[in-house]
């Protein structure tokens, strides 16, 4: 039988980063995915990197991640197109301004460097931005990266260290003896493992079910779009008018936002990722935010499927049962914090603990959530209209 010290299920950004740091620590690692590297949300998101002041429990990991991003290209030996010129959050309504001031207080409370900026400064930072901003909050350590180059960089770096990557390989079962997963059953055969890391994204819940564990996450589809490359450029990641995004190094504006749709997934197929007419609303919001770019042609839109835990936060935990199964699910925060996720998971696997504060990200906070939690919460797919 094939074997590895650690089998990671899922070649998304969380799984690949975990695998990379474990391989770097000298472990023999196999990553299994039913599709290709970063084929789902990890390669399809807005590429934002921030200190997550909006989610205080995540701040320790996010701060660690922004520091790691600064040298990630050299670390991995492959380019991620990471740009660390800061992240600007602008307010276009009084409510935005209130949220922004509250976030500033949280940031300062955690010792994070932020600056309030005046509308005139905002116009200097972001050419073509609306004159109707009320103010902004600038995070100097924020940035953005190319999601697709990043996932491949992790994957290649893993392989450079001797890690193995089994793409188009579907997990069909987890073999459990006593209280441990002893092997992962796949369409490419069984793989014996000492430790299994379940980083299966939207399939996280279904994968854990194979181990007899209930992990409450619900998949949802979200949409994003890109324009052709336009001048002038701005290197700062930008949040405002209900959108998040950035201008890629090549010059394309990549922005997303708007309502999501709860969906169901299964373990063997890749969920469809259709766009909806919502892209017109995203286009409008972007033109409102950046009137100077209103002539930029939209060339593409796409969608991604992300999973959400009931409190919108990641779950990173070594389970009590099976005792060698690690759950990693990021509730759509995965890309930006990915370097820290890899470090945390690697620490948990190697030492059983980590010096990065992940209190509040354990699975036990959902002990009261039964199998019908999605129905109770209203997080189920809408009935098909026609």
């Amino acid at each position: 039988m094939d074997r590895a010290d650690i089998v990671v299920i899922g070649a998304g950004v969380s799984g690949l980063s975990s695998a990379y740091f474990l391989a770097r620590a000298g472990r023999d690692v196999v990553v299994v995915d039913k599709g290709i590297v970063g084929g789902e949300a990890s390669g399809r998101n807005g590429g934002m990197v921030s200190e997550r002041v909006d989610e205080p429990l995540l701040i320790p990991m996010a701060v660690e991640a922004t520091e790691m991003w600064a040298t990630l290209d050299e670390e991995l030996g492959h380019p991620t197109e990471f740009v660390q010129e800061g992240r600007l959050q602008v307010a276009v309504t009084e409510k935005d301004m209130g949220d922004l001031l509250a976030e500033r207080d949280v940031a300062l409370g955690h010792g994070i460097d932020v600056q309030l900026v005046e509308p005139t400064e905002i116009r200097d930072l972001i050419p073509g931005i609306t004159e109707r901003t009320l103010g902004g909050l600038f995070f100097p350590n924020g940035g953005h990266a190319n999601t697709q180059l990043t996932v491949q960089a992790y994957a290649w770096a893993l392989q450079d260290l001797g890690g193995r990557l089994y793409q188009n390989t579907t997990v069909t079962g987890l073999r459990i003896v006593d209280d441990r997963v002893t092997s992962v059953e796949t369409t490419a055969g069984d793989i014996a493992a000492d430790v299994v890391v379940g980083a299966a994204g939207p399939q996280t819940g279904l994968m854990a079910q194979l181990a007899g564990v209930h992990v409450p996450v619900a998949p949802a589809r979200v949409e994003i779009m890109a324009t052709a490359h336009v001048e002038p450029r701005f290197p700062i990641a930008l949040v405002g008018n209900g959108l998040y995004g950035h201008q890629a190094v090549r010059g394309n504006l990549i922005f997303g936002g708007g309502a999501h749709e709860w969906i169901d997934v299964d373990l063997t197929t890749s969920p469809g990722k259709p766009n909806t007419p919502l892209i017109r609303n995203i286009a409008r919001r972007l033109a409102e935010l950046l009137p100077g770019a209103a002539d930029a042609p939209v060339v593409r839109s796409w969608a991604g499927v992300v999973e959400q835990a009931p409190d919108y936060r990641p779950i990173i935990d070594i389970l009590d049962y099976p005792s060698n199964y690690v759950v990693v699910t990021a509730s759509a925060h995965g890309f930006g914090i990915s370097p820290a996720t890899g470090k945390v998971v690697s620490d948990l696997v190697l030492f059983g603990e980590t010096n990065i504060d992940i209190s509040g990200l354990g699975l036990n906070r959902f002990a009261d959530y039964g199998p019908d939690w999605r129905e109770k919460r209203g997080w189920t797919p809408a009935p098909l209209r026609y």
Partner: protein
């Protein structure tokens, strides 16, 4: 939202025939055609490969509209039959419910003119969106003056706006010969027609007529490069090739021309069908991925029909327009029947009279010809030639899976990576290669390069071209400015309940 009984996309031969057939049966038909397209879109080489060879008259919207109407006899007939003809209107999106998108009230199309976009619903849809030019790279094809046959036809026939004086045509199939004849008819000099094959591929009589008019045919030749100054083509260097498609030393010839017209093949426009989830299959004799359809031109998706070049194109269709017309009428009959405008007996009788002409005569494997061209062009031109002109990705960048050059990335570990090291990990996927190299990621979204990218990837990885998946299409299938795509009709509720990202208060589509 406005709803239409039958929408036909594309007012070419098939689309107008479909619209007329259904309208005469009493169906309320709306026919959309994107021509005349805005100049801003024309400059992006999308949807048509115009190669900047259109003259300033494209500015004049009213004149262009007049010319487009004048050039298309079917339009007047369609209007007489009661068809609502809407020109200058592109269909950039098609949306329908699926397992992972469930809240639309019915299938919808995204439409846009030069100024704004809107949505409509439909009961039946006929996609007659035509075909686009196959792009094959040679050095200099990113200069102004390299264009496609379909682009040239549109500029000559619909717009009377082709700004060429002296043209070299690549391809001696009917597509190339017909392009040359059309150019000559309009006073454009045809300096040469070139083909890698050792004999003329198209109609012999037409080829003889062209030769009588003094056109030089170069068989067993390929292009080494197009040479230019100030971004404009000034001449083309041809070279003879041997049986292995290798250039023969000492046979190079330079031909002065301001335009090189790629007339090697056409590829069916399946973007909208792909967005709708219609099954497509790889048919090399019909131009690659084509929609699966039955004898009534019904696709695998209920209520969606296809007709004309979009259903599959082969060179025989250039001189025999009855094939597209019959397919259009069949689609019109099927749509009318399903809407209750024809009873089964009537529909069957009409079908019987049409089926004979709609079935394609035995086309040959276009991909075999394209592959020969690809090899000859590469052998003569080398690997430092941009296959994706939008994103400036060369043949060697593509096969080496090099990160975009603007990143200026250098590392030994990176240099160890190429298609050869990716291929053993997973079946080669053009979408994955696109993400790493940017080939096909530009403003034309791979309409110029996707076939040759797939061919190069298949060759370099030792895969069968038929196993190369279709590079995905996403909306908008036309490059639309933000101010046009802009949702002017946004509801107060969408406005109010907009979510930036998931949060306890974020709204859900329902």
């Amino acid at each position: 939202m406005e709803s239409r009984s039958l929408v036909v996309v594309g007012a070419g031969i098939a689309g107008t025939a479909a619209a007329i057939e259904a309208a005469r049966a009493g169906v309320q038909v709306t026919l959309f055609d994107e021509n005349p397209i805005p100049e801003s879109m024309a400059a992006l080489n999308a949807p048509q490969f115009f190669g900047q060879r259109f003259n300033a008259v494209l500015h004049d919207r009213a004149l262009m509209l007049e010319r487009v109407v004048h050039a298309n006899e079917g339009l007047a007939e369609a209007e007489e039959a009661g068809v609502d003809v809407q020109l200058g209107t592109c269909v950039w999106g098609a949306f329908r419910n699926s397992d992972t998108s469930r809240v639309l009230d019915g299938p919808q199309l995204g439409l846009a003119n030069r100024d704004r976009s809107w949505l409509i619903m439909y009961d039946r849809l006929i996609v007659a969106a035509g075909a686009r030019d196959l792009g094959l790279a040679f050095a200099g094809w990113n200069l102004a003056g390299a264009m496609g046959a379909n682009g040239a036809h549109a500029l000559m026939r619909h717009y009377q706006a082709l700004a060429s004086r002296r043209m070299v045509v690549l391809g001696t199939g009917n597509l190339g010969l017909n392009t040359a004849r059309m150019a000559l008819d309009r006073g454009i000099e045809v300096a040469a027609i070139v083909d890698v094959s050792d004999s003329v591929r198209g109609d012999r009589a037409l080829s003889a007529a062209l030769q009588d008019m003094g056109v030089r045919l170069y068989t067993s030749h390929t292009v080494r490069e197009a040479v230019g100054r100030d971004g404009e083509i000034e001449s083309v260097r041809l070279v003879e090739i041997d049986d292995n498609s290798e250039p023969v030393a000492g046979t190079e010839k330079e031909i002065s021309a301001d335009t090189v017209c790629l007339a090697i093949g056409l590829v069916p426009n399946v973007e909208l069908l792909s967005l709708l989830g219609c099954d497509v299959g790889f048919k090399p004799e019909l131009g690659g991925y084509v929609p699966v359809h039955d004898d009534c031109m019904r696709t695998s998706v209920r209520d969606v029909h296809v007709a004309g070049d979009a259903a599959g194109f082969h060179d025989g269709m250039v001189l025999n327009t009855e094939i597209a017309r019959s397919q259009g009428r069949l689609a019109g009959v099927a749509a009318a029947e399903s809407l209750g405008a024809f009873d089964t007996a009537e529909a069957t009788a009409r079908r019987r009279e049409l089926t004979g002409t709609a079935i394609n005569s035995k086309p040959t494997d276009a991909y075999a010809n394209w592959t020969r061209w690809l090899r000859a062009l590469r052998n003569a031109g080398g690997s430092d030639v941009p296959v994706c002109p939008c994103e400036e990705v060369t043949r060697e960048d593509l096969i080496g899976l090099r990160p975009p050059r603007f990143l200026k990335w250098e590392s030994e570990r990176r240099d160890g990576r190429s298609l050869g090291t990716l291929a053993p990990d997973a079946r080669v996927n053009p979408d994955q290669v696109k993400r790493l190299t940017r080939a096909g990621m530009g403003h034309c979204q791979g309409r110029l390069c996707r076939e040759q990218v797939a061919l190069l990837l298949a060759e370099a990885s030792g895969s069968d071209i038929a196993d190369m998946p279709l590079m995905s299409y996403r909306p908008p299938v036309r490059p639309l400015p933000l101010r046009v795509l802009w949702s002017h009709d946004e509801s107060e509720q969408v406005r109010r309940e907009w979510a930036k990202w998931f949060s306890p208060t974020s709204p859900v589509l329902e």
